[in-house]
Subunit: 225 residues, 2 copies
DNA sequence: CGCAACCTTATTGTATACAAATAACGACAG
DNA sequence: CTGTCGTTATTTGTATACAATAAGGTTGCG
């Protein structure tokens, strides 16, 4: 994808991730075109792409809105992600090279250090966590699976979850990653798959807890303010 | 999606399914626009959509070609489809209404009749088979899963496989569907999932056998001709 | 006061012209 | 004869104007 449409894609996607474009907000092609400094044509292309990746959603009358997730939809997305990433881990366990296992270990050590820093460094955690999962996906050696997961992993949700992670939760991620690495060293697909599924499932509960806490805080703020 | 781009989508998709546009063939936007009677703009939109559905593929230099599958890619697609449709069957088994089970049974009887007709009626088989799977997917009640499977089930492949099905294979599909129905009546997710996975896996082997036979025939034709 | 048909305005869809990029081709050097 | 460079032709990308459609607001009627 060449200059303008790629730029529009990144710009809009970034704005959604940053929360500049809030969930539920309507997106107007012309307005986006202005704010990206391109014409509507590449904006439309970007929107279609963001739609397949579930960043935005279109109504029956072709209007586009930033996706606003219901808890059910999020649980469903996590369930599918667990299944697919579990499958990826199983495949990877049989194929992964020793060097890649070492890279996994290295990224996971960075995650441990991020957990132990004062205060914990979410950005570093997110970065190495992303890379950790990317290595596994690549080791699974299935372009199709990679493409599928690309439409499932909802970065806005991952982001919101991880930003709320406390030290315990990051250390728990670290521990689960370590177990995954053990499964890879043994080339045990069942083990790897089970650990990965559990890992994703825990992430879902972390998300749900964080979300509920946020709701409680909001209500408290409204009551006091 | 409104008139022109929807029309372009159906037109191009249909041409690929009919084999008018052959695997590996390059698609030129202007040419397609002429043959659809619309401008390039909606054609481009249709192509992007067909790309996400894997009907076409784009090179790094943005040229578009009708997808030409390698056997590895097909096996991978079948594996993912087995996993996802198995999951759908498990979900459906817990949620499906009695009426839907009766509809499944009815469609499957039509499949049996198609198998017993002289000669076997592939078109009828395909139609009811599609509907059978669609009912299950809908009963699973997960839009996300439906969307995912939409990008996995490769109609050109299903078509090519089913057209080669002999009576035995259609009857085998019928028998597997019957077992699926039994699992649904018992609301047994594990059973339903296992049967579905086996069903898809058998379809893969049917495809591979048909493909290999086709190869052998082609070679024989070249040797004789 | 409600609501329904109409009109106005906002927004998306499509066509087309032109710009940019890439592949195809051929000439020339080694 | 082969490979590389440059030129041309083909193809895709982008901007823009205009058409079609849907939303919102207004007026008139029950």
């Amino acid at each position: 994808m060449s200059k303008a449409s790629e730029h529009a894609y990144r710009h809009i996607r970034g704005a959604i991730l940053e929360g500049i474009l809030a969930p539920g907000e309507q997106l107007r092609e012309e307005h986006l075109a202005d704010s990206c400094g391109v014409s509507r044509t590449p904006v439309r292309e970007a929107l279609r792409r963001l739609e397949t990746e579930h960043f935005v959603r279109r109504t029956d009358s072709q209007r586009t809105f930033v996706t606003d997730w219901s808890m059910d939809e999020i649980e469903e997305a996590f369930a599918l992600r667990g299944m697919l990433e579990g499958h990826a881990a199983a495949r990877a366990s049989c194929r992964i090279a020793l060097g890649d296992i070492e890279r996994l270990a290295s990224h996971n050590q960075s995650i441990r250090r991020a957990a132990e820093s004062q205060p914990i460094n979410s950005t570093i955690f997110l970065e190495h966590n992303r890379e950790f999962h990317a290595i596994i996906l690549q080791a699974a050696g299935s372009d199709r699976l990679t493409a599928l997961l690309g439409t499932i992993i909802e970065q806005p949700i991952v982001l919101r979850t991880a930003r709320r992670y406390d030290r315990d939760q990051v250390l728990r991620s670290f521990a689960e990653h370590e177990e995954l690495i053990l499964a890879f060293r043994r080339h045990d697909p069942d083990w790897a798959e089970a650990v990965m599924k559990a890992h994703i499932r825990r992430a879902f509960h972390a998300y749900r807890d964080a979300f509920q806490n946020a709701l409680v805080r909001d209500e408290a703020r409204q009551a006091t303010g």
